[in-house]
Amino acid sequence: MSDERAQRLIAEAKTLRYSRRTVLKRAAALGLSAPAIAGVLGATGHAAAAQSGTPAVNLGGSLNILQGTYFVPAAQDFFTKQAKDWGKQNGVDVTTDYINWPDLQPRTTSAVQAGSGPDIVEMWPGIPYLFADKLVDMTDLAEKWGQANGGYYDWVTKTASVNGQWKTMPHGTSSIAVIYRTDLFKAAGYDTFPETWEDFFKAGKALKAAGHPLGQALGQSLGDPPSFCYPYMWSYGAMEVEADGKTVAFNKPTFVDGMNTFIQAWKDAYDGTGLGWDDTGNNSAYLAGQISATLNGSSIYLSANDPTSKDSNPELAKNTNCVPLPKGPTGQFCNLGSRSMGLLSYSKNQDAAKAFLGWFFSIDNYKAWIEAYKGYIIPTGPTLATEPVYTSDPKLKAFIEVAKYGRNQGYAGPSNLKSAQAAANYVIVNTFANAVQNGDAKSAIEQGARQLERYYGR
């Protein structure tokens, strides 16, 4: 893809007799890599910059990129290096900052309110809706990126675009699957992983009796708790709202039944301390050998399987497998929404920021990034889903497979301000937490429905 753009630029430059400076400007706008730019300069009769540390393009200024902390540390180091290298090649002073996931949203809010702060910010699913008027339009680049990826998954469009416009560049998301101990499940009489939630809970009861309960975070955190609660709700016939985006469809008899099943399972099969876990609680419990299964991104397996990781545990990795979430009476789901990179309109260096995003969202570059991530982030469309990073290790296939039945928060409506309010106030997660604390599924769901009506009806 980078080559195609380079070839187009060469033809364009020859036809229109571009100066060296114009070639460099166009190359930056197209997001070409430094070697590609050098190739274009050579092909159009302009000498490339000497290899003396001089920037190939001098866009100037500084650029600050703010993201959530990477759960795969090597990928964070890789991105930092990528960004710095790009900065050196383009004469931009690039800095990268990483903060805890729950702090990203308030930090963005403060920056937007103050009108100053990071130039590029990573945004959680649905958040582009909140800041649509404060973001630089990315529709051109996003459409190209979509075409290059065989289109976007529905859950990407519903969580990263705003009323048909792309205000940010979607970069995929951390996927979720059940990570379980094959040795412990076999010992409990399960050679294959249970297909339904009820069978999963039955297995969990036997495993808890054997000293290895299931683990599920139900604390106030944005990652793992919603990743369980939303799909479980959907698989028992409930959702936040109908397709009109207004009518709350949460208090359903089938969901009350499902919640009663879960309340019993919490007592019989789960580690009760999960109510206080954040996104790291289940990781540490699984890696310490205390729980037999949990819902998580691939980071647990990747850490155990990585000889250089402080959590390296080859034996545990060997006895670990990953599978999609179980089915409920109304189907099998996964809570997915794309994270994205947004360029804030207050940025004083928008040209450099656009050039960076254009460069980052090129297939070659993105591939290198997802490889550094070892498949933890799944792509925005089906084309890259067949990359070896997702398919070479059979244990990781589940994380790309769930992309087929992903649903966004706010389903059956889009992820918007209302669904973001409900998510940020943990309405769905706290319905589950209340239910297992009080043992009363009906009143917990009724309370959750009332809260949803407050947000969706406001």
């Binding site: 909140l130 800041f131 955190s221 009760g272 609680g281």
Partner: protein
């Protein structure tokens, strides 16, 4: 025609009169007092009064960050919060958090101060060490508590299990009651040094000969404390208590690091709930939550000022 220039003698007389008037103006106590107050008043206006009134204004709007246009809705956000079950928990938690922890901090701080007021080997070392929980940044010391309270890897649970006192793990932060208790314990640990050091300073002012005279008159330790020590440290204790209530009431860091208001919103206080609400850019409601603290803090501050002035 040019005016006749004034004579030097007349000029100096006029100047002298002017200086006298100016001097007497500037030497007026009231003028000087207001003059000296101007920088402080300006700082207060710019950094306290303006943000306060701006916050008050925002709390009466339906403003969302990033969404253009907002409406003035008077007290709608405040009324909305009164119907919010989570907000009712917030009010309850804040009072529980403030009024349960402060008596513990006071009693433990007083005890610690009485012990450290004695002369013994390394007493100065221990006095300095007393300040540690107070001077370590809250976020850092709270991370240590987060480790201690870990649901599955807590060293406290580990020790109890290995002592044969229990089988499972203590659910420190996953149970609403346990979570509040755990938060209170961390707050008490952090707040005791403030009382300890403040009261210790007061104890240093109690003359030894008064204690000796009371002892000669046959007063026991308990009687000496109430008759000799307490009258000297009473005002310090009172002021420290009020300060501690105000700080605890407005606490944020400790609860945010430990529970983020969970499980199921059961440990939120004003600060954390406001922050959570701000997370979805709902500036109007977030400001209203914060400003609900104001009447309570104002009452505490008035009581505090009353006692400070009475002592003066």
């Amino acid at each position: 025609m040019n005016a006749v220039p004034a004579q030097p003698e007349e000029l100096s007389q006029n100047q002298a009169q002017g200086y006298t008037v100016a001097r007497s103006f500037w030497q007026k106590e009231a003028v000087l007092a207001y003059l000296f107050m101007v920088p402080g008043a300006l700082i207060l206006l710019i950094f306290m009064a303006y943000p306060f009134f701006y916050g008050l204004y925002i709390s009466m709007t339906d403003r969302f960050v990033g969404i253009p246009g907002s409406h003035f809705i008077w007290f709608e956000n405040y009324r909305y919060l009164l119907d919010d079950p989570v907000f009712r928990k917030v009010v309850r938690n804040t009072f529980v958090y403030s009024f349960v922890t402060v008596p513990f901090k006071l009693v433990l701080g007083l005890g610690l101060a009485l012990v450290l007021n004695q002369q013994f080997r390394f007493s100065r070392f221990f006095r300095a060490g007393l300040l540690l929980p107070w001077i370590v940044p809250t976020a850092i010391s709270t991370l240590a508590f987060l480790m201690l309270y870990n649901g599955t890897l807590s060293p406290i649970s580990w020790a109890f299990r290995h002592l044969g006192l229990m089988n499972g793990n203590i659910n420190f932060l996953g149970d609403p009651v346990n979570a509040i208790i755990s938060i209170c314990v961390a707050n008490i640990w952090r707040g005791v040094p403030f009382f300890g050091i403040s009261i210790l300073a007061g104890l240093q002012a109690v003359p030894d000969d008064l204690h000796e005279a009371a002892a000669l008159d046959g007063a026991g330790a308990w009687r000496r404390f109430w008759a000799v020590t307490w009258p000297v440290i009473r005002n310090i204790v009172l002021i420290s208590t009020l300060f501690s209530i105000i700080w605890t009431f407005a606490d944020f860091q400790l609860i945010y690091v430990l529970t983020k208001g969970g499980p199921a919103n059961s440990t939120h206080v004003f600060g954390t709930y406001s922050y959570q609400t701000l997370g979805v850019t709902d500036l109007g409601t977030a400001a209203s939550i914060s400003l609900y603290m104001f009447p309570f803090l104002a009452v505490f501050a008035i009581i505090l000022l009353f006692y400070v002035r009475r002592e003066d």
